[in-house]
């Protein structure tokens, strides 16, 4: 409570201390030898924070829930198996806002970590489908621009990367599809349109 409390008491009357952000856009797997297709993603981020008196940046602690669907294909020599992944991400992070031009256009960056719960389906024509469930730690980074339409609403665009640093794990779905180099260092990228409510 120390961090939140300090931000709260420092600038309580100056503005909003919370935001709830909805984001959506295309997503794609990163760092895999197989052919990556285009999927989709969406999510919600809740932030709490504020600005220390006398400073410019605005800091938030964030919690996020995101869903995505990713698609890729294995190599032709093993039947071009299709891999469909459905992921749920739960994460915690920190976000900072900096003004870019005037009070309305702001840059923001976010770093965090969390768990990715994934259900992957590996399918080849004629063969039984394999369903692989995984839970992995991942870190993520996001950067974007936001235009504040009103005090209570912003719209923006962002790029979001996530990767799984645990190199001991093996990506079983990619392995089953024929990606012999499959490992847990792969991740995913997202391009997002954001709508943010400030309160």
């Amino acid at each position: 409570m120390g961090f939140v409390g300090a931000l709260w008491s420092a600038d309580a009357a100056a503005g909003n201390h919370f935001f709830l952000e909805g984001a959506g856009g295309p997503a794609t797997p990163l760092g895999r030898a197989s052919d990556a297709g285009l999927g989709g993603s969406g999510g919600l981020t809740l932030g709490v924070g504020g600005r220390w008196a006398g400073t410019t940046p605005v800091w938030y602690l964030t919690g996020r829930v995101a869903l995505d669907r990713l698609a890729e294909r294995g190599p032709a020599r093993l039947g071009r198996a299709s891999v469909s992944r459905s992921g749920v991400e739960l994460g915690l992070g920190g976000r900072v806002y900096l003004p870019v031009a005037g009070p309305r256009l702001r840059w923001f960056g976010e770093l965090g970590g969390g768990e990715r719960l994934e259900s992957a389906e590996v399918a080849r024509a004629g063969h039984a489908t394999l369903n692989v469930q995984t839970q992995r730690f991942q870190v993520f980074a996001q950067t974007g621009l936001q235009w504040r339409l009103w005090d209570t609403l912003s719209v923006g665009a962002a790029l979001d990367w996530a990767w799984m640093p645990d190199q001991r794990g093996v990506d079983l779905a990619a392995l089953a599809a024929g990606d012999a180099e499959a490992n847990a260092t792969a991740g995913r990228g997202r391009a997002l349109v954001t709508v943010t409510a400030h309160f």
Binding site: H17, V65, R77, L90, V122, G126, V132, L172, L175
Partner: protein, 312 residues
């Protein structure tokens, strides 16, 4: 809602979110190593294979990708077997509820061989350490071409990168496949060593015709020219070769005639999904599952305080 009640609800919801996917299956794992492969055109050979398997409440599913010798394309074998197969039974194929599909592909993805007509035996045993698997399958197509895929008592550890999991699997299966490992000579059974795999490869060299009709439970017949001194790790008489205790597991009500080569430690153990979650993952998972709820709870409290200040 009182805070402690709210937290209780949050705890239950968080636990469900964090662990529901893990509860959905009993075991899954993968490993790579070598397997004996032979065809109607080619002599038997050890080829690189990648196993990825999953056992859930009702079925065992396994995908084996084979890096076949140059000129043969690459192969994919999928097994879709009823859950009973994961309890140590050696079962003859074809069998009701069992589905085998084998394909070979050219480099451009064309299917050059495909079959769902399989004969042979399969046995799997799943526990917290992983899965041990015995396969001896022959598949044939309408043109009387055939392929044979054989893997002895292969251990697939829950985590192929975890030395403890590998050691545990090795205590039960003579060949434990870990990522990029060669089949190991470490064995819980006397008489099993790497040389047996070479023997298998040699014995296949003399040719083989799949037996699609007998359904005897002992799989394809061995090549007639195979030396009697060579040890059969997969088919009839394997038990006498390996001399393992606990072979009674495979003699079950399915009518199996005891072809499996069970090893010490074969027992019907419950699979443990939690074993595959490393300790730090579980800890991080709990924190991450809880903290968003705590954050939301804090936010609500702060908003109420702000509202009270505004009212004053």
């Amino acid at each position: 809602m009182r805070p402690f009640r709210a937290l209780s609800v949050m705890g239950v919801l968080s636990a469900l979110v964090a662990f529901a996917p893990l509860a959905a299956h009993a075991w899954q794992g993968g490993a790579s190593g070598e397997i004996v492969w032979a065809s109607s055109e080619a002599r038997g050979a050890l080829v690189s294979a990648v196993f990825v398997g999953q056992v859930d409440a009702t079925r065992l599913r396994l995908v084996v990708t084979l890096d076949l010798p140059t000129g043969s394309g690459d192969g994919v074998l999928t097994l879709d077997l009823p859950e009973g197969f994961a309890r140590g039974r050696t079962v003859a194929l074809p069998a009701p509820g069992a589905r085998v599909h084998y394909s070979e592909y050219a480099a451009d993805g064309r299917v050059v061989f495909e079959s769902t007509r399989a004969a042979g035996t399969a046995r799997a045993l799943v526990d917290a350490a992983g899965m041990s698997l015995s396969l001896d399958l022959a598949v044939s197509d309408a043109a009387a071409q055939w392929r044979r895929v054989r893997g002895g008592d292969v251990g697939l550890p829950t985590d192929p990168d975890d030395p403890d999991a590998i050691a545990a699997a090795r205590a039960r299966a003579p060949y434990v496949l870990a990522a990029q490992d060669e089949p190991s000579g470490d064995s819980g059974c006397g008489g099993d060593d790497d040389e047996l795999w070479r023997d298998d490869a040699r014995s296949d060299a003399s040719g083989y015709a799949p037996d699609q009709t007998t359904g005897s439970g002992c799989g394809p017949s061995e090549p007639s020219t195979a030396s009697s001194s060579e040890t059969d790790t997969l088919g009839d008489g394997a038990d006498t070769a390996s001399g393992c205790e606990g072979d009674d597991v495979s003699a079950d009500e399915t009518g199996d005639d005891g072809c499996g080569d069970s090893c010490e430690g074969d027992g019907l153990a419950e699979a443990s999904s939690s074993a595959r979650v490393r300790a730090h993952h579980a800890w991080v998972g709990r924190c991450v599952a809880w903290l968003p709820w705590v954050l939301a709870f804090t936010a609500v409290r702060l908003m109420r305080r702000a509202a009270r200040r505004g009212a004053r």
